[in-house]
């Protein structure tokens, strides 16, 4: 809190700066370290002899002749078929985001404009659904999906992720639509528009800030999901996160652990770039609804 009246003591300022620096180190260093290590060979990044090898690249120099190697990446992306997993992730993410935004905006708009009791109850039920651990839902899906023979394919997973995502999207967009003045669409209704026309011509042009935030969160959920994708997709259709886990399973194989390291970096980098670009929307999304308490 920086006020004109408030003269801060120097010692407090120093302490504050040190604290922030330490926290940032804790928060960022693991990612920087993993990024650095992904260009080394296993004997360096997981060194039995001396952890300093990871920096001097002792074994990497011996094995490949250079300080940095792209071996782990080429191994994971081609031999380990990570390209397939990332293609699947792209398909799943794009479908989940577009479908859940389509359903979510319509539903949340209706909720925000309804004064009935049931709208309140629907929001409460959505909150309860939001609290359900995903794995308990998955244990409900598996058996019926096996019976219907729709297990293992991408469309099933996409629909499931859309549904799991709905409660949060509804709440986020509901609190966003609440901030859009009612008079805007009411005047359109008086002029003889139907609700759909009012939504199409009055609300849609002004809803994009909220939709972008909701879209980012759907994207993070679909992109990051492990529980649903690991259990509902077969090997062939695995997305990135379960794929990373499958590299861990065969630990004995020399190259595979480094595949996992490079896969982790490959999967994380796009997400970081995206959040760097849309930081403000992410933060406004996390605080939506919370501030009003």
């Amino acid at each position: 809190m920086d006020f004109g009246l408030d003269k801060k003591s120097n010692s407090l300022k120093t302490f504050n700066t040190i604290f922030i620096v330490i926290w940032l180190l804790l928060a960022c260093f693991p990612f920087i370290w993993t990024f650095w290590g992904s260009f080394k060979v296993r004997a360096d990044f997981f060194s039995r002899a001396d952890w300093w090898y990871a920096i001097t690249a002792f074994n990497t120099l011996i094995e490949t002749g250079a300080r940095f190697t792209k071996e782990a990446y080429s191994g994971a992306w081609f031999e380990g078929e990570f390209w397939k997993a990332s293609r699947n992730t792209v398909i799943v993410t794009i479908s989940v985001v577009s479908i859940s935004l389509f359903l979510g905006t319509l539903g949340a708009y209706a909720l925000s404009r309804s004064t009935k009791n049931y709208a309140f109850w629907i929001l409460i039920i959505a909150l309860i659904f939001r609290a359900m651990p995903h794995i308990t839902l998955v244990s409900g899906y598996l058996f019926p999906f096996f019976q219907l023979q729709i297990w293992g394919i991408l469309p099933t997973t996409i629909v499931v992720l859309v549904a799991i995502n709905q409660p949060f999207t509804l709440w986020l967009l509901y609190s966003f639509f609440k901030t859009v003045p009612k008079e805007l669409d009411e005047s359109a209704l008086i002029d003889g528009c139907s609700y759909f026309q009012a939504f199409r011509h009055i609300i849609m042009p002004v809803m994009w800030p909220g939709v972008i935030t909701a879209g980012l969160f759907s994207l993070m959920l679909a992109y990051n999901d492990f529980t649903v994708t690991a259990l509902l997709l077969n090997q062939e259709n695995h997305t990135m996160v379960p794929k990373i886990q499958s590299y861990l399973g065969t630990n004995q194989h020399e190259g595979n652990l480094m595949w996992a390291v490079s896969a982790v970096v490959s999967a994380t980098a796009p997400l970081f770039l995206l959040v760097m670009f849309f930081q403000r929307q992410v933060i406004s999304g996390l605080t939506a609804g919370a501030i009003k308490g």
Binding site: W51, A131, L142, V282
Partner: protein, 342 residues
């Protein structure tokens, strides 16, 4: 909005939620009353030059036939709930009679799979949630005191642990604390113990997972608190400075009461998220010494021989009951607010 329009607007989202959240919960409930079929055994007489032996083998044909007829398994009632892998009522009462002291009883019960997982899940929730609130609040306070020009990149750095998926986050930490990683190796040097390994000790594994939990969830608390701090009114703060209130007093009497509703919101969300902890257990390969309720379900569902639908469903239902107990106070409060607002 009239009911008709509301229905058509809400129908697609509602249908998705009913089909893929509502029905699965019911389906889980039904599955929890069934158990997988026993294998049908037959006696086979085998004769070889050294004599005849009767041995018991699985009648594959009959087993698969009964599986086809009743894919859900055999009806088991509450049998799965009270078996050894869940509430273990028989074992618990047996331990109660055998044990000489309460401590011994608790120790024995804590070794049963379900209670073991319950104890870990609750410990994790109870320790991680307050730590997350506290750390998030402190980070928000101190970032708020830093010049506005450089805050953007600092906030980006702060929220990194939150935006990666828990599996990736825990793997990244695990590779560092591994005996062959940077922190693990340095710990060995520091403690002068070349065999020190986080994996081998139960207590160390728990501490690692808890530290991971705080690391992963604090940014969320930070973001919400930071935004709330921007809305704290300036006048009372300035007045208190004139009255000579110390920094700590100002935070305690003006800032905290103002952001109190947000604190309960963050506490609730972190509690819900912490209760479902399970990816870090896989990331840290800690199955040996730390198991959570969600991990038990996962383990049943990836079982190699036959998927234990009934067992997973029973654990799921009990997890849902646990979540409802956590949620009840919040729901009651919301309901009261709704009544008074009307």
């Amino acid at each position: 909005m009239p009911n008709r329009s509301f229905f058509w607007f809400f129908f697609p989202a509602g249908l998705a939620m009913i089909l893929f959240i509502g029905l699965p919960i019911i389906s889980t409930g039904i599955q929890s009353f069934y158990a997988q079929h026993d294998q049908i055994l037959i006696e086979v007489k085998k004769c070889d030059p050294f004599g005849c032996k009767t041995s018991v083998v699985v009648d594959q044909e009959a087993t698969s036939k009964i599986k086809e007829e009743k894919p859900l398994g055999k009806f088991n009632g509450f049998g799965t709930y009270i078996d050894r892998n869940h509430l273990a009522s028989d074992q618990v009462s047996e331990f109660w009679n055998e044990s000489k002291s309460v401590g011994e009883f608790i120790g024995k019960v804590g070794n049963l799979p379900f209670y073991k997982a319950l104890v870990f899940t609750l410990t994790y929730c109870v320790i991680v949630t307050p730590c997350v609130l506290l750390l998030g609040f402190i980070i928000a306070l101190s970032l708020n005191a830093i010049s506005r020009k450089i805050r953007g990149p600092l906030i980006f750095g702060t929220i990194l642990p939150m935006i990666v998926t828990p599996l990736v986050g825990s793997l990244v930490l695990f590779w560092m604390i591994d005996a062959e990683g940077i922190i693990g190796a340095n710990l060995q040097i520091l403690m002068d113990d070349p065999y020190l390994s986080v994996k081998s000790s139960k207590a160390l594994t728990w501490i690692t997972i808890i530290i991971y939990g705080v690391w992963h969830h604090s940014p969320f608390a930070f973001v919400v608190f930071y935004a709330a701090l921007q809305t704290v009114p300036q006048e009372p703060l300035e007045a208190s400075i004139i009255d000579g209130a110390s920094r700590f007093q100002r935070v305690k009497h003006i800032v905290l009461p103002h952001i109190y509703p947000v604190v309960t919101f963050v506490a609730l969300i972190s509690l819900m998220d912490n209760f479902r902890v399970f990816e870090p257990i896989i990331g840290f390969s800690a199955e040996g010494s730390a198991q959570s309720l969600s991990w038990l379900i996962y383990d049943n569902l990836v079982n190699e021989e036959v998927i234990l639908f009934g067992s997973a469903a029973a654990t799921s239902i009990m997890t849902i009951v646990g979540i409802s107990i956590i949620l009840t106070p919040v729901l009651l409060r919301t309901w009261k607010e709704f009544r008074t607002n009307r």
